[in-house]
C-alpha cells in the first residue's frame, strides 16, 4: 500500500481519529483542569482561563471534553470488539457447520433484528442494573446481530472454496477451518465493517447517554455532556453543542476512512458499476 494513494478525505479522517485517540490516551496530561473539578461560575462563556467555557455545574468544558474522549472511545471500542468477536465466531460456526445450527442461529438472529436496536436497548436497560460492563455488553450483543449477518454472508462465500474443502478432506477440525482458513480470507471486508460498526457504536452510546441510560454522571462522556448542558440552549448558551460537535466530528472521521476502505475493497472486485 502506497501512502500517496490515500485520498485527501481519508487523510482528514485518519488525522481526526489520531487526535481523538491521542486525547483519550493522555487525558490527564492534556486537560488543564480535573474531570470533576468545579472551577468557576456556571456556563461561563468561552475565552480567558476556560478555552471553551464552563458547563452547567461550573466545570471546565475543555477538560471534560478531553476526559470524555477517553470514556466514549473506550466504551464504543470495547463494545465493537466484543460484538465482532461474538458475531464472527457465531456466524463462522453457522456457516461452516450448516444444517440445524445454521438455521437455529440465523432464525434467532432474525428475531433479534426484528426489534429496532434502540427500542431493544431501552427495554433491556430498563430491567438491568446500571453498570458500565452491562452497558458495554448490551451494546455488544445488540450490535453483534449485524455482524452475524454480514459475517455469515462473507463466510458462506469462502466456505465453498476448494482450499476449505481440501482442509476438510485433510481432516482438520471446525476450529482450524474457522481460524486458519476462513478468517484470513474474510478480514478485508470485515475490516471496513469494523469501522462502520465503531462509528455506529459511538453514535449509539452517545444517544443512550443523552437519554440518561448510558454512562452515569459524574463521569464525563460526550453524550452525557450534551444532556447536562441542554437546558442552556434556550438561553443561547452553546455549551451543549460542543460535545455534540465532537461526537459528530469523530463519527465523520471514522466514516471518511471507512468510505475509502470500502472503495478500495470494491475496486478490487472490478466491474462496471460504481454503485
Amino acid at each position: 500500500m502506497n501512502l500517496r494513494t490515500i485520498p485527501f478525505s481519508a487523510w482528514i479522517g485518519i488525522i481526526g481519529i489520531a487526535i481523538a485517540i491521542f486525547c483519550a490516551l493522555f487525558a490527564p496530561l492534556l486537560a488543564p483542569f480535573g474531570e470533576r473539578e468545579v472551577v468557576g461560575d456556571v456556563w461561563l462563556p468561552a475565552g480567558g482561563d476556560f478555552l471553551l467555557g464552563t458547563d452547567n455545574l461550573g466545570r471546565d468544558l475543555l477538560s471534560r471534553l478531553i476526559y470524555g474522549a477517553r470514556t466514549t472511545i473506550f466504551v464504543a471500542l470495547a463494545a465493537t470488539v466484543i460484538s465482532f468477536a461474538l458475531g464472527m465466531i457465531l456466524s463462522f460456526t453457522a456457516a461452516v457447520t450448516g444444517g440445524f445450527v445454521d438455521q437455529f442461529f440465523s432464525r434467532f438472529n432474525d428475531l433479534m433484528m426484528a426489534v429496532p436496536t434502540l427500542i431493544f436497548a431501552l427495554v433491556v436497560l430498563a430491567v438491568l442494573p446500571q453498570h458500565l460492563w452491562i452497558l458495554v455488553l448490551v451494546m455488544a450483543v445488540l450490535d453483534s446481530t449485524r455482524v452475524f449477518r454480514i459475517g455469515r454472508a462473507v463466510a458462506l462465500d469462502v466456505a465453498v472454496m476448494e482450499f476449505v474443502e481440501a482442509a476438510r478432506l485433510r481432516g482438520e477440525g471446525t476450529v482450524w477451518i474457522i481460524f486458519r482458513e476462513i478468517l484470513p480470507n474474510t478480514l478485508s471486508p470485515l475490516l471496513a465493517e469494523f469501522g462502520l460498526r465503531f462509528a455506529f457504536s459511538i453514535l449509539f452510546l452517545s444517544t443512550l447517554s443523552f437519554l440518561g441510560l448510558g454512562i452515569q454522571p459524574p463521569a464525563a462522556d460526550w453524550g452525557g455532556m450534551v444532556k447536562d448542558n441542554k437546558d442552556g440552549i434556550i438561553f443561547g448558551i452553546s455549551a451543549a453543542l460542543i460535545p455534540g460537535g465532537a461526537i459528530a466530528a469523530l463519527a465523520i472521521c471514522v466514516n471518511l476512512v471507512v468510505d475509502w476502505l470500502m472503495k478500495r475493497t470494491s475496486s478490487l472486485k472490478g466491474g462496471r458499476g460504481d454503485a
Binding site: S9, S106, D110, L111, M113, A114, V115, P116, T117, L118, I119, L122, V123, V124, L125, A126, V127, L128, P129, T145, R146, R149, A192, G195, L196, A199, L203, F204, S206, T207, F210, L211, G212, L213, V226, K230, I233, I234, F235, G236, S238, A240, L241, G244, G245, I247, A248, A251, I252, V254, N255, L256, V258, D259, M262, S266, G271, G273, D274, A275
Partner: protein, 369 residues
C-alpha cells in the same frame, strides 16, 4: 445488498436492506412454490390456492410470517425481562427495604404469580388494546398511549411527506450527474449528515431557528384542541430534524439502487444501441428501479418511527418515545413493554410492507425457484 457506501446513522436500515432479501429467499418456504404437479395430485387446499393465485398466497404468507414474528417478539420482550435480574420492588423501595414491604409491593403488582400466567393475561389484554396500568403513576397505559401515539404518527407522517420526494429527487440528481461535481457535493454532505447524532441536529436547529432568529417555537408543545396550523408550526423543527436525519440515508440508498440498475447489462445494451438518455431512463431503468426504491422508502419509514424517540426527547414533544424513555428511567415495566411492543409492531409491519411492495413491483419475485 444494494448498499455500498458507509452507513451508520439510522439504527436498523442498513441491516434490514439485506434482511428483506434474505427473508424472501430463506423464509419464503415451500407452499409458495408454484408446483405444476400440485393440480394433478390434488394436494392440500393451500397448495392448490398457491398454484392458482401465487401472488395472493405470497402476500398471505408474508402477513402470517409478520404476525408470527410479532408474537415471538412479544414473548421475547416479556420473557426476556423476566429472565434478566433486577426487580422493580427492590429498585422502587431502595436497598434498605424490609422483606415484608417488598413482598407487599410484589403482591400489589401481581408479581407473585408465575410468569407464564402473567404473560398470557398481558398478551390477552394487549390484543384487545389493554396494556394494564402503569406501576409508577397507576394510570391506564392504553389511555396514555392513545393520546401519544397520534402525536408521534403526526410527526412521522409529516417528516415522511417532506423527506421521501426530496430523497428520491436528490438521489436521481446524483445519478444523473454521477461522478461529477453535484454528485460529489451530495455525496460528501450526505456522508457527513449520516454521522450526525439526532440530538446534535436538533439542538443546532433550536439554537439558530428558535433562539437566535426566533422564527420557530421551542419546546414543541402540543395539546388536545390545538388548531391545525398551530400544531404544524409547533412541529416544524422536530420535522426538520427528522427529515435531515433520514434524508441522507434514504438518498444514498436511492442513489445506490438506481445506479445498480443503470450499470446492468440491458442498460448498457440500450446505450450501445444509441438510445437517448431520457428514453433509457424512462423505458429501461425506471420500471426496474421502482422496486428497490420503494423498498428503500419503506425501510426508512420504519426507521423514522424509531427515530422519533430521540427527537421527541430533544423537543419535549408529548409522544410515544418520550413516554417510553421516561418509563425506562423509573423502571415502569408495563409502559416499557407496551411501548416496546408497539414500536416493534410498526417496525415489523413496515418491513413487511417493503417486502410485499417489492413482490408486487417485481414480477420475478412472484415465482421463487
Amino acid at each position: 445488498m444494494m448498499e455500498s457506501g458507509p452507513i451508520t446513522g439510522p439504527v436498523a436500515t442498513d441491516a434490514t436492506a439485506g434482511e428483506t432479501a434474505l427473508r424472501s429467499s430463506d423464509l419464503a418456504g415451500i407452499p409458495a412454490k408454484p408446483n405444476p404437479a400440485a393440480e394433478e395430485r390434488g394436494g392440500t387446499i393451500w397448495q392448490r390456492f398457491a398454484f392458482r393465485r401465487p401472488l395472493a398466497a405470497l402476500i398471505l404468507q408474508r402477513l402470517g410470517l409478520s404476525v408470527g414474528l410479532l408474537f415471538a417478539v412479544s414473548l421475547m420482550i416479556f420473557g426476556g425481562i423476566e429472565a434478566l435480574p433486577g426487580d422493580f420492588a427492590t429498585t422502587y423501595l431502595g436497598q434498605s427495604a424490609t422483606p415484608q414491604a417488598v413482598e407487599n409491593i410484589r403482591q400489589d403488582l401481581g408479581l407473585d404469580r408465575p410468569w407464564s400466567e402473567r404473560y398470557l393475561s398481558w398478551l390477552g389484554g394487549a390484543v384487545q388494546g389493554d396494556f394494564g396500568t402503569s406501576w409508577a403513576s397507576r394510570n391506564s397505559v392504553s389511555e396514555q398511549i392513545g393520546n401519544r401515539l397520534g402525536n408521534s404518527l403526526f410527526l412521522a407522517f409529516f417528516a415522511a411527506l417532506v423527506s421521501v420526494p426530496l430523497a428520491v429527487g436528490l438521489g436521481m440528481l446524483a445519478v444523473q450527474f454521477r461522478n461529477r461535481l453535484p454528485d460529489k457535493i451530495i455525496n460528501v454532505i450526505s456522508l457527513a449528515a449520516i454521522s450526525l447524532p439526532e440530538f446534535f441536529i436538533g439542538y443546532l436547529l433550536i439554537m439558530y431557528f428558535a433562539v437566535e432568529w426566533g422564527v420557530a417555537t421551542f419546546p414543541a408543545t402540543v395539546y388536545n384542541g390545538m388548531g391545525f396550523t398551530d400544531r404544524l408550526s409547533a412541529i416544524a423543527l422536530p420535522v426538520a430534524t427528522l427529515v435531515l436525519v433520514v434524508l441522507a440515508h434514504m438518498m444514498r440508498m436511492t442513489r445506490a439502487a438506481i445506479l445498480n440498475v443503470m450499470s446492468s447489462a440491458y442498460v448498457e445494451t440500450a446505450e450501445l444501441k444509441g438510445l437517448g438518455t431520457f428514453r433509457i431512463i424512462a423505458r429501461h431503468a425506471a420500471p426496474n428501479a421502482v422496486a428497490p426504491v420503494i423498498n428503500v422508502i419503506a425501510l426508512n419509514l420504519a426507521y423514522l418511527v424509531v427515530g422519533v424517540v430521540v427527537v421527541e426527547v430533544v423537543f419535549v414533544y408529548p409522544g410515544m418515545g418520550q413516554y417510553m424513555v421516561d418509563a425506562v428511567t423509573v423502571r415502569d415495566m408495563p409502559v416499557v413493554q407496551a411501548c416496546g411492543l408497539i414500536f416493534a409492531a410498526f417496525y415489523i409491519f413496515l418491513n413487511m410492507a417493503a417486502d410485499i411492495l417489492a413482490i408486487l413491483a417485481n414480477p420475478r419475485l412472484r415465482h421463487p425457484r
